[in-house]
């Protein structure tokens, strides 16, 4: 029997990320992907999870100086996505379980996909 997809998008805060993914893991969801989108003063992170045909997205908007906890202690398979987002968007992701140390796209300059300008950053910790 064909199931139809159910898609939900939910906005969350940084502090709510780990408790929410903990609950998803406990309920049997799997990681699908993590997507980064650059605004001019923030990076939007979209964490996708799947359970059968259900597709749930957690959306997080972070300023460049904000540190985001890694979800790899809960979903180990997210390590490649988190490494990629850190390399391409310059997002500060803390304690990725398998850290490639900026080598996912080795020849690509760090933060290459970020559109945050120097004047838009509020601290010295912004993307290059």
């Amino acid at each position: 029997m064909i199931e139809r997809e159910v898609l939900t998008v939910e906005e969350i805060e940084v502090g709510g990320l780990i408790p929410t993914v903990d609950a998803l893991r406990a309920a049997g969801w799997r990681i699908i992907q993590v997507l980064g989108i650059s605004g001019t003063d923030h990076i939007e992170l979209n964490y996708s999870f799947g359970l059968g045909m259900r597709h749930r997205i957690l959306r997080l908007r972070v300023a460049p100086e904000v540190e985001v906890p890694s979800i790899t202690p809960v979903f180990l398979g997210a390590y490649l996505y988190e490494n990629e987002i850190r390399d391409l968007f310059g997002v500060k992701i803390e304690r990725i379980a398998v850290d490639w140390l900026g080598k996912v796209y080795d020849p690509v300059e760090g933060g290459a996909f970020s559109k945050i300008t120097v004047t838009a950053t509020s601290s010295e910790g912004g993307p290059r």
């Binding site: 199931e3 139809r4 699908i32 992907q33 390590y79 490639w100």
Partner: protein, 367 residues
């Protein structure tokens, strides 16, 4: 005795790739070995990053389908179709029935030729060149059919926002199905070699094991996931004509290289049955609706089942002819953590085979 002689043998790091005889695309590993056994693997990509996702910000959203089709040389039609489906969702466009069924036809044709390509490469990875040549010979007929119906052998070029750009007549479709009848028989013969030949079983059975729990937790997709016992196939979402076709995901439980072969062999036969059904039920009518103007502000998420597994497309429109963001999460990208898991514990000689059994496509991965 020198201090050198007293030193205990430590782990050895062996570089593997990016240029390697069995790797069709550039992928590098630092393999940590203890004796001949792999105890750790750190992959490295980044050799062919083309910035295709960012290119969407520079191209007209209707023209970008030609770029999307070139994300991968094997899953080209499905990349184009996925992009179209994502854009059509934002536009609120319903494509004509015949276009949905033709998209399903080309998707399954692509699955067959991709799996046959993979069967050949996998056979080559462990030195079985006859099997390699036989698989690719069978594939030739399938891509002849692709050319006759779509105009392209590998890059089909028939995906179009609002439908499809080619309309092979029903007689041509029936003739093409007749032309690939001998291929079906040939694949059954090849399957006997894959399943029954002791040397093949020796290289594949029990090698590169990924448990059901690990495959799920690591986010594996496609044959890599189903070979470990997880019953998930994104076609069950019912996109295009799949909601009107009877099929079940092909699932194996052993989780090793042989299980991944069996899943793909099963999927080839399943694709032929779907192709039969598609051609028999092909509705008449137009194959495209005209698309005019600019897309509205909005976003869409689409999941499809490519030969290598579930692929995800994200499109966000800002109301202009250049989209704000396009994202493809390809199956190979999702399968890399599971591939690293599969490599651990195997002997160095088995590494190429294990890597090949995820059917890696690095062009897709780097976009």
């Amino acid at each position: 005795m020198s201090s050198h002689d007293k030193a205990a043998p430590g782990p050895t790091v062996i570089p593997f790739g990016p240029q390697h005889p069995v790797l069709p695309e550039p992928l590098h590993f630092d393999l940590t070995l203890e004796d001949e056994k792999v105890v750790g693997a750190i992959p490295q990509i980044g050799y062919i990053h083309r910035g295709l996702e960012m290119l969407v910000e520079k191209r007209d959203y209707l023209d970008y389908v030609h770029v999307a089709e070139r994300i991968c040389g094997i899953c080209s039609f499905m990349h184009g179709m996925g992009y179209c489906e994502a854009v059509e969702t934002i536009l609120g466009v319903q494509v004509p029935d015949r276009a949905r069924w033709l998209r399903t036809f080309w998707s399954e044709l692509e699955r067959v030729h991709s799996h046959l390509l993979w069967l050949g490469l996998a056979a080559d990875a462990f030195g079985f060149e006859n099997l390699f040549h036989a698989s690719w010979r069978a594939r030739e007929t399938v891509i002849d059919v692709a050319e006759e119906t779509s105009g392209g052998r590998v890059i089909f070029g028939s995906a179009l926002v609002g439908g499809v750009s080619r309309d092979p007549d029903d007689e041509t479709l029936r003739r093409c199905m007749k032309a690939i009848e001998p291929v079906r028989a040939e694949i059954l013969r090849l399957a006997q070699v894959w399943i029954g030949e002791p040397t093949v079983r020796h290289r594949l059975s029990g090698v590169g094991h990924v448990s059901k729990e690990a495959a799920y937790a690591l986010g594996a997709v496609g044959p890599m996931l189903r070979a470990s016992g997880v019953d998930y196939d994104a076609r069950e979402r019912g996109y295009e004509a799949y909601g009107e076709i009877e099929f079940k995901a092909v699932v194996e439980t052993a989780g090793d290289c042989m299980a991944r072969v069996l899943v793909r062999l099963g999927e080839i036969e399943q694709s032929f049955r779907i192709l039969d059904e598609v051609v028999a039920k092909m509705p008449a009518g137009p194959v495209a609706v005209p698309i005019k103007g600019m897309p509205p502000v909005g976003e869409s998420w689409i999941r499809l089942e490519q030969p290598r597994g579930e692929v995800l497309y994200f499109v966000r429109s800002n109301g202009t002819r250049q989209l704000e963001r396009f994202r493809v999460r390809t199956p190979t990208f999702a399968n890399i953590p599971a591939m690293v898991e599969a490599i651990k514990g195997v002997s160095l000689a088995d590494v190429p085979t294990v890597i090949l059994t995820i059917d890696p496509c690095i062009s897709c991965t780097e976009r």
